[in-house]
């Protein structure tokens, strides 16, 4: 692996990261307000959610499709607790009118707890089976919030960003506040994950990713490790969820749905499932495509049958891009970077362990 912290590659990567950070800090001054409030802020938010997914996949060997649902659960808890009813108020959800700071803490705690429970249920499943299970959890959460109408139902719980904690203040009138908060939380999550994987817990987590049987024979409880990691992933996802409802102001079951789940997976894969940096890269790429390619509409099947077999809209575009990336560059954007670096240095031999393949270290059993 690396020969110390200051290899040329590490220097380049760190400089790039620093440059990106500086640009981000100056964001509101350089870019249009639409770009900062919509594109960049959501990049940070979805990057945090994708980071939770990539953390679990890169360091835990668990591809979890529940992260979107956990994000949504946190958002729903905030929405239900914080909004107030009465004339001119909100009409959906529990409308309890709690103190926003308390609601925020509650949301993070509840989501982490649910993550732990789900992690315990899924902890003895591995590989593709685990993926299926987490996908099922996600879809169930989606249907749950749609059908339990007391918690909101299919209508959105709205105006959540009108009930902000006092120490943040008004973000509808000052959207740059949320921009910097999201940037700050992103940095916090990034540093936290980098720190966590160096702790004994993190190292044993990577151990169970590579050799679960061996680790179990050393006396570690592998299912518990996985459940705890899943709980941490839920914690990170809950941060993203709270930021999301502050940003969007509303939440509805669609935000937890199958489409949203796949979108987050696409973000993680585009960015690169092997490295945490891929989370924000992938989020940026996806949101940019989502936004600016939106107006491309292939001709629908018309009466004259012009191009009858190519129809569809944005979803087809993103599906094709996703397919190309999975087929050609499974390491995502970060994988491309790795390959560029390797090509530039003309390195032979085995590629970097983290840059190849969409599946980090396939787990032994089925």
């Amino acid at each position: 692996m690396s020969r110390g912290a200051w290899t040329p590659r590490a220097i380049v990567e760190r400089s790039l990261g620093l440059a990106a950070l500086v640009i981000a800090l100056l964001g509101p001054a350089i870019f249009s307000s639409y770009f900062t409030t919509t594109i960049l802020t959501s990049t940070f938010i979805f990057g945090i959610a994708a980071a939770s997914l990539i953390f679990l996949s890169a360091y835990g060997g668990m591809i979890s499709l529940s992260q979107t649902a956990l994000m949504g659960i946190a958002g729903y808890v905030v929405g239900n607790l914080v909004t107030k009813g009465g004339a001119g108020g909100e009409t959906k959800g529990l409308i309890l009118g709690w103190d926003p700071t308390l609601a925020l803490v509650f949301a993070i705690v509840i989501t982490t707890a649910i993550g732990l429970i789900l992690g315990l249920v899924a902890s003895r499943s591995f590989g593709i089976y685990f993926l299926m299970l987490t996908l099922t959890f996600g879809v169930i959460a989606n249907y749950f919030f749609g059908q339990v109408t007391k918690l909101g139902g299919f209508s959105p719980i709205a105006s959540i960003n009108l009930y902000m904690p006092g120490w943040i203040g008004d973000i509808v009138g000052h959207p740059d506040k949320l921009y910097y908060i999201a940037l700050g939380v992103s940095l916090f999550v990034y540093v936290l994950i980098r720190y966590l994987v160096r702790t004994p817990f993190g190292i044993s987590l990577q151990g169970q990713r590579d050799e679960p049987v061996r680790l179990a024979s050393l006396g570690y409880t592998v299912p518990l490790h996985r459940a705890l990691a899943f709980g941490f992933g839920a914690f990170v996802a809950s941060l993203a969820g709270v930021l999301f409802v502050w940003w969007e102001g509303q939440i509805s079951p669609q935000n937890l749905g199958l489409g949203a789940t796949i979108d987050l997976l696409i973000i993680a894969v585009i960015g690169g499932l092997g490295r945490i940096e891929g989370a924000w890269l992938g989020a940026f790429a996806f949101i940019v495509i989502n936004n600016y390619v939106r107006d491309i509409q292939f001709p629908f099947a018309s009466e004259k049958g012009v191009l009858p077999w190519i129809g569809g809209s944005f979803n087809t575009v993103i599906g094709v891009v996703f397919l190309l990336i999975v087929l050609l560059s499974p390491g995502g954007l970060v994988g491309i970077w790795d390959r560029v670096w390797d090509a530039a240095r003309r390195r032979g031999g085995p590629p970097h362990a983290q840059s190849e393949g969409a599946e980090p270290a396939a787990v032994a059993s089925s």
Binding site: I128, V139, F144, A301, G311, N315
Partner: protein, 366 residues
């Protein structure tokens, strides 16, 4: 401890349904024991009807889930496109039936449909979707053997693309191009549109639903015979047990994979035809049927035919009985509680099963 709790829950639920529940009273006052039609003793007719609903729904679920289980069990491919195969199969069957019964575009009254005009659309749909599955398997999945996650991502991308294309192109004939949402319905053969007296608890039951059950049983028996009495089936069973060993023995496992994928996809199309007849297929249902397939396989265990059957029964049971036997307390109008929590019970079912056997009821140990 969790196992004891789970067992206790199951026992209580059984007693509740059989004995404890009460029918709603005239005055409107109710308790936690009030359900829609009371217990099995209060209203055996309703209980029988619910039981039959369960079993017939299970037949429908089995048709779809068995294909999914076959592909997953043999090739470890989570075919996320299974739901869109269901959807597309339903649309193709609709188009074929429209052309066969050219009388009125859109709606065809039952009296005009004979058995062939239902079977032929089904057969065509099965062939088309089977072929589509084969193309996908040969074109995208074959050279990715062993990379479970990558294959899952590929099928996800394909599912996104196909779902979008289906929205753009179907339905093509008949009424809906100017008028409706893209719901397409097929008509059952006319002779099936009646109810027959079962001579048990005075229940008259729909012949159509019994036919669905018969179809499901036929599929199950045929699959069993295929898997246990033919060479290909033997290879499939061997491949499910140990893929590498099977290919090492010189058997052309690749050809078997192709056949299995064809059959699995065709079964999805059959399920889609049934679905279109029962109420129609529309965009959005692909996600629902993917969820059902996932839950059946998680509960029943992957790669096991018996597991798919038992899983279908359990899932159908949860879906049907939770609508009728959850408490609807407080008023005869049954307004505020509890049938909207039925989706939660799907999760409870999964958690219960995984508490006892993480690989599903009939799955192979990890």
């Amino acid at each position: 401890m969790p196992r004891a709790a789970a067992a206790g829950l199951v026992v209580f639920a059984t007693l509740f349904v059989l004995v404890i529940a009460n029918p709603p009273s005239e005055s409107g006052a109710g308790s936690w024991r009030t359900t829609n039609s009371g217990s099995a003793f209060d209203d055996p007719g309703a209980f029988m009807a619910n039981l039959l609903d369960t079993v017939t729904l299970a037949g429908w679920l089995f048709i779809v889930a068995s294909g999914f289980s076959l592909i997953f069990g043999l090739m470890r491919v989570v075919n996320m496109a299974h739901g869109v195969f269901y959807l597309l199969g339903g649309y193709i069957a609709y188009e074929v039936q429209q052309r066969l019964t050219a009388e009125t575009p859109g709606f065809v009254p039952g009296e005009l449909v004979n058995t062939w005009e239902w079977l032929i659309p089904m057969a065509v749909a099965m062939l088309c979707i089977g072929a589509l599955g084969l193309v996908i398997e040969q074109g995208f999945l074959r050279w990715n053997q062993g990379q479970d996650l990558r294959q899952a991502l590929i099928t996800i991308a394909i599912a996104v693309i196909i779902a979008d294309q289906v929205t753009a192109h179907f339905p093509r004939s008949g009424a809906f191009q100017t008028g409706g949402g893209n719901l397409a319905t097929i008509t059952w053969p006319g002779w099936m549109e009646r109810r027959i007296d079962l001579h048990v608890a005075g229940v008259e039951y729909s012949l159509t639903r019994l036919a669905i059950l018969a179809l499901g049983v036929t599929v199950g028996v045929s699959l069993w015979l295929w898997l246990h009495r033919t060479r290909t089936g033997m290879v499939i069973r061997a491949g499910v047990d140990d893929r590498q060993m099977t290919s090492v023995l010189g058997i052309n496992i690749g050809r078997t994979f192709a056949i299995a994928f064809f059959v699995g996809s065709a079964l999805a199309a059959m399920g889609g035809t049934v679905g279109a007849s029962q109420g129609g297929v529309a965009s959005g249902q692909d996600g629902l049927w993917l969820l059902y397939s996932l839950v059946v396989v998680i509960v029943g265990g992957m790669g096991s035919l018996v597991g798919a059957a038992v899983g279908s029964l359990l899932v159908a049971f949860v879906l049907t009985f939770s609508a009728s036997y959850l408490p609807s307390t407080g008023d005869p109008a049954g307004i505020e509680c509890c049938t909207q929590y039925s989706i939660t019970f799907t999760f409870v079912l999964i958690a219960l099963v995984l508490a006892f056997r993480p690989q599903g009821l009939f799955g192979k140990a990890a």
